[in-house]
Amino acid sequence: MPTVFVTPNLTRHVPCPTTTVKGATVRAALDDLFVRVPRLRGYVLDDQGALRQHVNVFVNDESVRDRTGLGDTLGPTDEIFIFQALSGG
């Protein structure tokens, strides 16, 4: 199952340990994470469910391509990293 890592800059607002999640897409994996940590959703996604402008999500060492639909596919050993962009602070 994919593993999600969340930047300490975010976990200082919403505690969230490194977690393995279910899902074949970034959207499904994040939805699974948000079931466990509901408050995290509003920090990562905007009101319409897209990635916030100043949040980045990488799968392994690549930035996700679909920032709105989050349709990038995942393999079982993939690692998802959620962190803040350097802009926007």
Binding site: D47, Q48, R52, T68
Partner: protein
């Protein structure tokens, strides 16, 4: 519900780097405890006189808009659900920043003002946001509903950004005689009013004049850049407006306004505070016209009228007389419940308290982060 324990009079300053509280200590005003949300931008603060709760809206640079509430005078805080647009609003937005909205739908960018509802509805809180959404909570901020009646009004397409790239609702006036009567101020969209608790809305505010549109649009109520609305509790039919290019006053609940001219040193500014009990008294913080937005001649003054706008005092006592470049934003001035003390904060991080109805000002801090909003405890 029981009101929280009364708080010693406190001046709150919501800043770019946290929420600061000041209380009188002996003859001086001093920081009361550690700042809350240190490092985080605070965009609005409210001490609710009905419940004693404190609300603070954050605008995190990366992680969006957040709302926190304290039920113990600021000792502890709990994150609430912040106001947010639903996905139903995706195609309902004709005008707000087409670069993002038409593709993705709207998201709340900032809670610009938080206002208590009527005395009989202590769990009702209003939030005005950018983009121009008006939200209401009827459960003390636990959940929020967009006033879709206003958001979906086709006339809203005439609103446009002022100060920020998108329009925003910065002022919400709830009539203390009947909380169904609501007036809101929009930069830029003039004044809108509802007489049925927000079910239906109408543009109002005849008599205002703008100097930044083509001449035949100067009197169009929809394009007035109302910087801030304020009304006295004692006579809420009186409404003061600090506007982008003038000062206006209504005596009929914001239906019609009269311009107040020749106020020295300037009629430009962002903030206005209305005396809660004296409908003829109000305070403004003038600046050089919009191109500069600094005090006239580098001298910070507060203008005060006590006769409904016929005459003004330009108060300088305790304020910088030269080389001052402070700007006071629209939520940077507040008067307390008695009408005796004012608090004023600037984008340079200076904070002042005005005693004797703003006749004499005391410099409380020179080293705060830029101040977005101030508020007295109630």
């Amino acid at each position: 519900m029981a009101r929280t324990k009364p708080m010693k009079q406190t001046a709150f300053a919501g800043t770019r780097k946290g929420l600061f509280a000041f209380r009188r200590r002996g003859l001086h005003w001093a920081l009361a405890g550690e700042p809350a949300f240190l490092g985080e931008p605070v965009s609005a603060v409210l001490h609710d006189p009905r419940t004693g709760r404190i609300f603070a809206a954050l605008r995190l640079g990366h992680f969006g808009v957040k709302l926190h509430r304290s039920d113990d005078n600021g000792a502890t805080w709990r994150e609430m659900n912040a106001s947010a647009f639903s996905k139903d609003e995706k195609k309902m937005d004709p005008n707000v920043d087409p670069r993002t909205v038409e593709k993705k739908g709207p998201s709340v960018d900032m809670i610009w003002t938080l206002v208590p509802g009527g005395a009989e509805e202590p769990e009702t809180i209003w939030a005005g946001t950018t983009p121009g959404g008006l939200f209401r909570s009827t459960d003390g901020g636990e959940s929020w509903q967009l006033l879709s009646s206003l958001w979906n009004d086709p006339a809203r397409a005439k609103w446009f950004g002022g100060g920020y790239d998108v329009p925003g609702i910065h002022s919400v006036l709830i009539d203390p005689r009947d909380a169904k009567h609501i007036s809101i101020g929009i930069s830029i969209g003039g004044v809108w009013r509802s007489d049925d608790a927000g079910s239906t809305w109408a543009q109002t505010g005849n008599g205002m004049r703008n100097a930044y549109m083509p001449p035949d649009k100067a009197g169009d109520p929809a394009t007035q850049d109302v910087h801030r609305l304020a009304a006295p509790l004692a006579d809420p039919d009186v409404v003061w407006v600090q506007h982008h290019n003038g000062i206006f006053r209504s005596t009929d609940g914001a239906a019609n306004f009269k311009e107040i001219k020749k106020v020295k040193p300037s009629v430009f500014g962002f903030a206005v505070a209305a005396h809660p009990h004296d409908p003829k008294t109000a305070w403004f913080v003038p600046g050089v016209v919009d191109a500069q937005r600094i005090p006239v001649d580098g001298r910070l003054v507060v203008t005060r009228t006590r006769d409904g706008g016929k005459t003004f005092d330009a108060i300088t006592s305790g304020l910088p007389r030269k080389d001052c470049y402070d700007l006071v934003y629209r939520h940077g001035l507040d008067v307390d419940a008695e009408g005796e003390h004012l608090v004023m904060g600037s984008t340079t991080g200076n904070l002042w308290i005005g005693d004797r109805q703003g006749s004499r000002w005391t410099h409380v801090s020179a080293h705060l982060p830029p101040i977005a909003a101030v508020a007295w405890s109630r």
